[in-house]
């Protein structure tokens, strides 16, 4: 039964990408030791810096060699490693159901989110799941295989439907996820970029490392239709008659403006943004995401 719910996980892909660590772009505040840097100085093997001794410091941290050379007391500080909280935020609005059956935008997001959850759990990080829709699912981030199983099962059961409440849901998530976390959002972001900007800023204000997978179908970019058609809104049931030959030019112009605005939002909010076409292999998208994080690993 559990296997059926986790159909979106592909062991081969997981096996190929498991070697790439899921890094946070900033220091995390974990509750156990882990692979991620912590803002708190710790006792790991990696030297960080010297500082002058002040009364009250642990004398065991004094660097006696330096005292011998300079006759002054310095405290030797080391970095602390901790675990991270991975919060997977899934947009479950109706528009995520775009695509053919079994290869919808949500299926794509599910594969990305499931794989990331798996990788995080494998490296001992906590994994949580939030659905950004009217009917909310909130699984707080926890460690452990059992919890991962619960997250994956829930992920498998999620179904996109209804209108979008993406902006409100992001604001709500920013408030509810109290400690620093790696927040990864999977959405088509079919909302006004200005509204999205405030939501991203809210998340960033809460010190979260925010990553966003912007999932778009090539057809949505090109609007490559031959004949007039009645377009049914997947989020509200509204229909619109349109003749592609008449409006394609303006449609593409609208897309270009939207993308430009999105890039402006990303630039000002510092979100780790990944625009992904549904036509590409999700393994590649995942690999790029993980590799980019390794390259951008923070130096404190």
């Amino acid at each position: 039964m559990a296997e059926k719910k986790r159909y979106f996980l592909e062991p081969a892909v997981l096996g190929r990408l498991i070697a790439l660590p899921l890094q946070a772009r900033q220091a995390m505040l974990g509750n156990v030791s882990g692979k991620h840097r912590s803002p708190i100085r710790g006792s790991s093997l990696e030297f960080d810096q010297y500082r002058k001794y002040v009364p009250g410091d642990d004398t065991r941290r004094l660097d006696w060699r330096t005292w011998g050379r300079s006759d002054r007391f310095y405290i030797k500080q080391f970095e602390a490693d901790t675990n991270l909280r991975l919060c997977l935020l899934m947009d479950t609005s109706g528009s995520m159901d775009f695509g053919t059956e079994g290869a919808t935008r949500f299926d794509y997001a599910r594969k990305l989110a499931g794989s990331l959850g798996y990788f995080a759990a494998e490296q001992g990080d906590a994994v949580g799941l939030w659905s950004l829709a009217t009917k909310r699912v909130e699984i707080p981030a926890r460690r452990g295989p059992a919890h991962l199983g619960q997250v994956l099962d829930q992920l498998g059961e999620l179904k996109p439907a209804g209108g979008t409440t993406l902006i409100e849901a992001l604001h709500e998530a920013a408030e509810k996820v109290r400690q620093r976390a790696l927040v990864v959002i999977f959405s088509d972001f079919f909302v006004a970029p200005a509204e999205l900007k405030s939501a991203f800023q809210h998340l960033r204000f809460r010190k979260h490392d925010v990553a966003a997978f912007h999932l778009l179908d090539q057809q949505e970019l090109d609007f490559d239709f031959d004949r007039p058609a009645r377009f049914l809104d997947m989020e509200g049931g509204e229909t619109m008659l349109a003749d592609p030959s008449l409006i394609a030019r303006n449609y593409r112009e609208a897309v270009r403006r939207y993308i430009a605005e999105m890039e402006e939002v990303i630039r000002t909010t510092g979100v780790d943004y990944h625009r992904v076409r549904l036509q590409e292999n999700y393994e590649g998208a995942l690999a790029r995401f993980l590799l980019a994080r390794i390259q951008n690993h923070p130096r404190r």
Binding site: E220, R230, A248, N250, R252, A254, R256, Y258
Partner: protein, 682 residues
Amino acid sequence: MTFLQPVVLIALPVAALPVIIHLIHLYRRRQIKWAAMIFLRAAQQMNKGLSRLRQILILTLRVLAVAAIILVAGRPLAGGWLGLTGGAPDTVLILLDRSASMEQKDMATGVSKREAGVRNLAKAINDTTGGHSHVVLIDSALEKPLALDRADALLDVPQTGATDTAADIPGLLQAALDYITTNKTGRTDVWLLSDLQQSDWEQGSGRWPALRNAFASLQGVRFHLLCYSQGADGDLGVTVNHVTRRETESGAELLLDLRITRRIKPGEHPDPIDVPVRFVVNGISTVAKLTVKESQLVLQGYTIPIDKGTRRGWGRVELPADAFPANNVFHFVFDDPPVLRSVIVSDDPAESAPLQAALEATADPSRKYVATTLGVAHAAEIPWAETALIVWHAPLPKPGEAIARQLQEHAAAGRDVIFLPPEAPDGTELFGLHWENWKTAPAAVQWWRNDAGLLANTRDGKALPVGTLEMTRYCTVGGEGTPLARMSGDETVLMRAEGDETGGGAYFLGVLPGSGSSSMARDGVVMFAMLQRALNEGAGTLGKARQGFAAALALGPDPSLWHQAEAGAEPIIPPELPLRAGVVASGDRLIALNRPPGEDVTQTVPVAALNDLFAGLDFRVVTGTLEDTRSLTNEVWRTFLLCMAAAILGEALLCLPPRRSKMPGGEKIAAAAAPWGEKEAA
């Protein structure tokens, strides 16, 4: 627009087919579940105005294309003035100007303005009405409505034939108005064919405003004016003003005052030309070559020798044929001149004496003048048949009285009557006029008609001193007539009664010549000129040989009493005799009929002036030329085919899909949408 196959127009609603198909397509379009509505809405918003306009244009062009096909199948007719006439009217009223000037011909084809116009009209009316309209002809010569079975009959009926008469266009329109109002003709198209000759149109006539108002009050009356105002440059015309027989030592001769005019353009100085002029007297002809140097040649007393025993006869002067044949011939008759007899009916010697003196004065030494004064009680003794002018200074006889009837017959016979006011006007009306009230106050004539009539300017163009006449009392004239002189305040003191078509007339003069009323007798000039003109006018019908102008009543009510004087002349049916130039005889009487002088006038009414004459009426003007042999109506299906082709082409252009591979930024979008990793790699 009219159609030869109007039944096909039933299919016109089919033109809405593209709209219906469009609507069907609208509701049968495939449905696509779409997520990126945010872009679609933005695109629709951007495209809203243009897209809708384009769609409307496409549909309109499709409808037009289908409609054009149907209209082509209906075989549309149009052409100049007939375009957009809105289908066959109930009645088609044809007003035909049959004046002599309409006989101007195209030298190449020999077709006159009248013939070309009538032919065009017949075809156009036949084509446009398809025989569904009631066709009525009113010609200028007879001014009597003639119902026709079909428009083609215009070519056959004698009422569309040539005449040498003048045309009274306002009178023609009045006849049309009377016909329309009497017969309740429904939707009526009035088609007027004319050459716009100024003398026929009488632009300044007071009848025009009344006609405009009357027609404007009628519903569904439209005017179509087909005008042939083209002039005949270089045309030669001849008129004979005076013919006198004189005996000489060796025999006798005719003295002719003749004028040959040559139509030239203003400012043109043509070379002199030799004109062979043919003179025919009692069938014997002679030819003389005369030289015309400028625009006219005037010969006073040109002599033609005749046999001494020939005391009376007829003749004509002929010019070589040209584009306007009607003015190439002038007919004349000659006889011993009649006595210029006048009768003054008055009981007041103070008033009659100066009148008699003026009438007895010998203005022309070759004529004999006799003036008689009779008391009112002896009015019955007037020698009616020999009197050219009657001056009636007495109360007006009551209508129905024998003397009233005799006066009317006298005027109808072409002689003149001048009525002077009695001391006690009683409102009796004669000739449609009556005396109003006496007014006693110093006054002077403010306006008088100086282009024609008794107070016209002299031959050298000088005005009579009418304005300097002093008046102390005068009686105003009431009723419908032609005012010839007015005091201040539009009070008429000299008016001519209407309806005098034979040349004579009845005049009402509200001023007495005596010293107690005016200075007319003392100053003399105006009174003398006025009385002598009336006398000459009335004398025109005296004698056994006289000159006249072609007109419907030129030979009286029964033209069958007359026959052509020249035995070998081209025969004319009796009803047409008074309308054609020539010499006619009845017993021992001879009459030479010629075109009226107005027909030699070259000025035409400018087409622009028609806008004023027909202001406020629904009218169209088409100017034709004799050289233009095209029909007034044309099948215009080619135009519709072109329209259809243009509509289809326009629709195709509007429907052209945008260049797919070069979609604005299509590749750019893909690149912009590419993940950052790809962009970097790129």
